[in-house]
C-alpha cells in the first residue's frame, strides 16, 4: 500500500520531490515532500508525454497515448530541467517531453491518486 499523504501539506510541497530514483530503464520512483511515493513505469510515462507532438497544441487532445507505445519501451536517460521538471529520452527515440513535477504528481498512477 502506498504511504498515506501527510495531512496539511501545501500544493507546492505535494509537487516537490524529496527523492528521485531511476530504476534502470524500467521507470522512476519519486518520493514527494509530503511523504507520498509515486512509481512510474517507462511505458506509462511515454504514453503521457506532454509535448506538442503527443498532445495537440490547438485542441489539447492527446494524439499519442499508452496504447500506441510498444510494451518494451524503456527510459534511456533522465535528467532534471531547471528546478521544476524531468526530461526523458525513451528507447523509441522520443525525447521532446518536459514533465513538470506538478504534472507528474497529477498523473501519479497509484490507487489512492488514480
Amino acid at each position: 500500500m502506498p504511504p498515506v499523504p501527510e495531512q496539511g501539506a501545501t500544493p507546492a510541497e505535494r509537487a516537490t520531490p524529496a527523492e528521485i530514483r531511476k530504476k534502470g530503464g524500467e521507470g522512476i520512483v519519486i518520493r514527494w515532500l509530503d511523504g507520498h511515493a509515486s512509481t512510474f513505469g517507462a511505458r506509462y510515462l511515454r504514453g503521457r508525454c506532454p509535448c506538442a507532438q503527443c498532445v495537440s497544441e490547438t485542441t489539447g487532445i492527446r494524439l499519442v497515448s499508452e496504447e500506441h507505445i510498444p510494451p518494451g519501451v524503456a527510459i534511456e536517460a533522465a535528467r532534471t530541467v531547471g528546478n521544476y521538471a524531468l526530461h526523458f529520452s525513451f528507447t523509441d527515440g522520443h525525447t521532446t517531453g518536459i514533465y513538470s513535477f506538478e504534472y507528474l504528481r497529477r498523473v501519479c498512477p497509484c490507487e489512492v491518486c488514480a
Binding site: 520531490p17 528521485i20 531511476k22 515532500l33 532534471t80 531547471g82 528546478n83 521538471a85 524531468l86 513538470s100
Partner: protein
C-alpha cells in the same frame, strides 16, 4: 571558590542562545562559529554568515559578544570577527554553471519599470559588500547594462570561452555584445542558443551571485533560463501603477510554475521627492506593491523613489550606489540588497537536492 575553566564547549553553549533571525536556528547549529581561541580571560571567534551583505551583521556581533560575556563565567573580553561565505543551494553538479553559487533572475511584467537600473544597482551593492558578483544582461530587446555600467569594448574570446568584461567590481556579460552595433533580431531558437552561450560559455570564475537581467514579460529567454540552470530565485520589479502591477503578476506566476522561488518584489518609481520644496508626491499611487506582496505571501524588498539622480547616474554609467552612496536612493538600494541577500541565504538552506539516483 574555584572558578570554572573557560572551555570551547561552554562558549558554544552560551552562543546557542543567539538565533539567526532569517534561518530561525541558532548560530552554533548553523555551524557559523569558526576559529575559536581562548587566551586567559579573552575569547575570540569568527561568526561566518551566509552573505557579506547581511543587514543584521552588527546586531549578531553584539548578541554573540553579550551571550559569551554573560553566559560564561570568567570571560572579560570577547572579540567577534564577522566573516561570510555565501552558501549555494543544493543542485546537481551537471546542470549548474561551475563556480557560480547562486543565480538570481530580475524580471518585470512590462518594460520601462527600471528593471535594468535595479539589476545594476543590486549587483554593484552586492559587490561593494565584498561578494563576488556577475551580471548577465539577457534583455535581448534592449540590452542597456553596458551603458549603465560604462563598460566599453567587447569581451575577448579565449579558447572558445567568452571572458567577461569587468566594471565597478562586477563581471559583465551582455547578450548585446553578441551582435555589436546591430540590433538583436532573433527568433526563439536563436535567443535560446545565445542565452545558453551567455550562461555556460562564459568564464565567470568563482561567483557568489550571478544577477540575470531578463527581458520584460515572459518569453523564450525566461524559459531557456529556467530550463538551462537551477535558478536560486527571482526578483520582480514593479511600479505602483495598477496596470504595471497586474502584468507583473504574470511574470511572478511564470516563475512559480517553473519552481523558481520568488525572493521578493520591489516597487520602483515609488514616490517623487520635489528637489525644490522636498514635498513627497506619489505620482503612480502608493502601496500597491506592498499590498500585493502581502496577499501573495512574497517578501516586499523595498521601495525606490523616482529620483533624477538614479536616472542621471545610470545614463553616465556609474550606478547611484557608487556615485552618491549616501543619498536616500542609494540607501534604499542598499536596504533592498541586504533583504535580497537574506532571502537568497534562506533559499540556499531550504533547497532540496534535485538529483536523479540511478539504480
Amino acid at each position: 571558590m574555584t572558578e570554572m575553566a573557560i572551555t570551547e564547549s561552554r562558549v558554544l553553549d552560551a552562543l546557542r542562545s543567539v538565533m539567526d533571525p532569517d534561518l530561525h536556528r541558532d548560530i552554533v547549529s548553523l555551524n557559523f562559529i569558526r576559529n575559536m581561541r581562548i587566551e586567559g580571560e579573552t575569547v575570540s571567534f569568527d561568526v561566518n554568515l551566509t552573505t557579506p551583505a547581511c543587514p543584521v551583521k552588527e546586531r549578531l556581533r553584539e548578541q554573540s559578544r553579550q551571550a559569551v560575556l554573560s553566559g560564561v563565567p570568567g570571560v572579560r573580553d570577547v572579540r567577534v570577527n564577522m566573516t561570510a561565505e555565501v552558501r549555494r543551494p543544493q543542485a546537481p553538479e551537471t546542470s549548474r554553471i561551475r563556480g557560480v553559487k547562486n543565480i538570481v533572475a530580475v524580471g518585470s511584467g512590462k518594460g520601462g519599470v527600471g528593471k535594468s537600473t535595479v539589476a545594476a544597482n543590486i549587483a554593484v551593492s552586492l559587490a561593494r559588500s565584498g561578494a563576488k558578483v556577475g551580471l548577465l544582461d539577457a534583455d535581448i530587446y534592449g540590452p542597456s547594462i553596458p551603458i549603465m555600467m560604462r563598460s566599453s569594448g567587447e569581451p575577448e574570446i579565449k579558447d572558445q570561452v567568452i571572458q567577461p568584461v569587468e566594471a565597478h567590481g562586477v563581471k559583465l556579460m551582455s547578450m548585446g555584445y553578441l551582435s555589436g552595433e546591430m540590433p538583436l533580431i532573433w527568433r526563439g531558437p536563436m535567443a535560446h542558443k545565445a542565452l545558453q552561450q551567455s550562461l555556460l560559455g562564459v568564464n565567470w570564475g568563482e561567483l557568489d551571485y550571478l544577477v540575470v537581467d531578463l527581458p520584460p514579460g515572459t518569453g523564450d529567454v525566461h524559459l531557456t533560463l529556467v530550463q538551462t540552470v537551477p535558478v536560486t530565485g527571482a526578483v520582480i520589479v514593479s511600479t505602483p501603477q495598477d496596470v504595471g502591477l497586474q502584468i507583473s503578476m504574470k511574470t511572478l506566476r511564470m516563475f512559480q510554475q517553473t519552481k523558481v522561488p520568488i525572493l521578493g518584489i520591489l516597487e520602483n518609481m515609488s514616490y517623487y521627492i520635489c528637489p525644490h520644496c522636498g514635498a513627497r508626491d506619489e505620482i503612480f499611487g502608493h502601496g500597491g506593491v506592498a499590498h500585493a506582496a502581502e496577499s501573495l505571501g512574497v517578501p516586499l524588498l523595498g521601495e525606490i523613489p523616482l529620483d533624477s539622480a538614479i536616472r542621471k547616474h545610470s545614463d553616465t554609467g556609474t550606478p547611484v550606489v557608487l556615485a552618491e552612496p549616501d543619498s536616500s536612493s542609494a540607501r534604499a538600494f542598499g536596504e533592498i540588497t541586504g533583504k535580497l541577500a537574506q532571502q537568497i541565504s534562506i533559499q540556499a538552506f531550504r533547497s532540496i537536492p534535485l538529483t536523479i539516483i540511478e539504480e
